[in-house]
Amino acid sequence: MENRAIQQITPLQRALGTVFRALNFLLKIGLVVVFVFPFLWMISTSLKTYPESIAYPPSLFFAKPQWENFVMVWNSGDYLRYARNSITVTLTIIALQTLVSVPAAYAFARYKFRGGALLFGIVLVSFMVPTQLTFISVYLMFSKVSMLKTLWPQILPFGANAFGIFMLRQSFKQVPEELIESARLDNAGEINIMFRIMLPMAKSSLVAVTMFSFIGHWNDYFWPFVMTNTDFIRPLTVAIAQLRDSEHGNQWQLVMAGNVILVLPILIVYVFLHKKIISGFVYSGIK
């Protein structure tokens, strides 16, 4: 049976199959190059000397890795403070968002209440409004309450995450009704059902949403740039961008070293969580 099936494949089909596999492979290589090359470029530049970094034609290679670049960046300002600001801002945002998104998504998914659909619509719309439209009024607001010298202008506007609420609502909705009924027969109250039954089933989505938010806010440049006017409260992104317009011209090797420092925490987190993140997007419900 199997033998016959193999014999029925004509040489043409076999040739086409090979071509298709080759194309498929090339396409994947192409994608990898597109995504990985800038990354490699950043790392390689961060280890170059200044002349190497501006050499023409440019090259991916350097004579000797210049680890001092990293030391120079770190010592060029109060990087400990910048890093601490980045960490504080990002983690507080994540904590606030989780605190707000989980109950909000749960309510949108599980309860019918007056104005529920309208409220959810507003959440979705707010997800689509770019921050570039709102930053001036937000800035003025914080200025009025004299909070501009604190980290709050970088945190509070992101206390709720519309995308997170949407994603979590979808995965709460996927939980079969019978599971909840079964839990009620098991004498579980509403809070118990939310934390013991529903949230574990939405864990992948929660991790994915958190990761996205983490990366987004960690790498955010625009918002902290417009919200801060003193080094004391600036995060890493803004500090590193300032390396570029320091007095010695464009010291690309230093900017890139700064960028490597910036993305390192994200890489570390990703290495630990990438399985969860991916499954958050392919999670297809329950058998």
């Binding site: 009924e181 079964s182 004498n187």
Partner: protein
């Protein structure tokens, strides 16, 4: 152990009336099987008893106490869902333990109960697995264990075997019967499979369109159906029902009550017919016969009759059931019975 009673229970979903003034009593310790075609309201009845799909009106009583306003968790009953509803993120042990924890049962008692029950249903080796690592049959057992561990007064089961393959199904059927004999708890078991109903039930409750057609033990419901629907729903192949000549009534007989002969026999009802098909079932043979543009099914121990040949089929008087125009049975003590039966004999 408990008696369950539904009084004038109605259930509506928007404008759809699923149950209307349903009255039903299930005695303490009974294995009651709720059967009926798909969509007739079986699950709705079960959910009403459980309290997870409250009735629109009417009362649910347990041991003569009105429990209509009691939340599901306080009703002292356990349900096995059709799709098992096992918590996918919890291990088998946590699944079974969840209800006990919520009832604040102390840990030593919990562990003892889990050990005992998982031994009975045969899932002791899988306690630390996740549901995704179990086969369908094993999941079914987990659902059963989760219900049993609560030692409820009533078990509600919604087509618990419908997702299993045939072999496992008949095995589990026997195990459930043994379980009921052992626990002596009230079982309310929903199925659309009449073999399950016939083999397991103390009492069969046949439902159609939310209305109880007949409530009786399996033997009674098979031999003495009270209307045409019951007569045709229970039994496979289904009862033959033919119009009664010269009236708007009809008469019926079970396929296995028919005798086939080559020569005209001396019997109450006899008729010559053509064999259309023959289906060998092993110990028995199924024939389809045709006469006067009518067709009947016959189940016979003999396999010698060939399609295309003519035979005589015959019936005894006592194997013929009569149905009135409104599809209800015409019983022997009722007016016009003798006359109608005689008409059937002359078919």
């Amino acid at each position: 152990m408990a008696k369950i009673e539904l009084r004038n229970v109605s259930k509506r979903f928007g404008n759809t009336v699923v149950l209307e003034n349903l009255n039903l009593t299930i005695e303490d310790g009974q294995f009651a099987v709720l059967i009926g075609p798909s969509g007739c309201g079986k699950t709705t009845v079960l959910r009403t008893i459980a309290g997870i799909g409250p009735q629109s009106s009417g009362q649910v009583l347990m041991d003569d106490q009105d429990i209509s306003d009691l939340p599901p968790g306080k009703r002292d009953l356990a349900m096995v869902f059709q799709n098992y509803a096992i918590y996918p993120t919890m291990s088998v042990r946590d699944n079974i333990e969840y209800g006990l924890k919520n009832r604040k049962v102390p840990a030593p008692t919990r562990n003892k109960l889990i050990a005992e029950i998982s031994e009975i249903v045969g899932i002791a080796p899988y306690l630390d697995r996740k549901p995704a690592q179990l086969s369908g049959g094993q999941r079914q057992r987990v659902a059963l264990a989760r219900a049993m561990v609560k030692k409820p007064k009533v078990f509600l089961m919604d087509e618990p075997l419908s997702n299993l393959d045939a072999k496992l199904r008949s095995q589990m059927r026997v195990e459930l019967i043994e379980l009921h004999n052992h626990l002596k708890t009230t079982f309310v078991y929903v199925t659309h499979d009449q073999v399950e109903a016939m083999s397991m039930a103390d009492r069969i409750i046949l439902l159609n369109n939310g209305v109880i057609q007949q409530e009786a033990n399996p033997r009674e419901i098979y031999t003495n159906p009270c209307n045409k629907f019951t007569a045709q729903f229970i039994g496979a192949p289904q009862m033959n029902i033919l119009p009664l000549p010269g009236s708007d009534m009809s008469f019926g007989f079970r396929p296995e009550k028919v005798t086939l002969t080559e020569q005209a026999p001396d019997a109450f009802l006899k008729k010559k017919a053509r064999i259309i098909t023959r289906e060998m079932l092993g110990s028995e043979t199924l024939y389809q016969l045709r006469f006067d543009k009518q067709s009947i099914m016959v189940k016979s121990l003999s396999d010698v009759f060939l399609p295309g040949t003519d035979v005589y089929f015959s019936l005894r008087k006592e194997d013929i059931l009569l149905f009135k125009r409104d599809e209800n049975r015409l019983y022997p003590q009722e007016d016009g019975y003798g006359q109608a039966l005689a008409a059937a004999g002359r078919v």
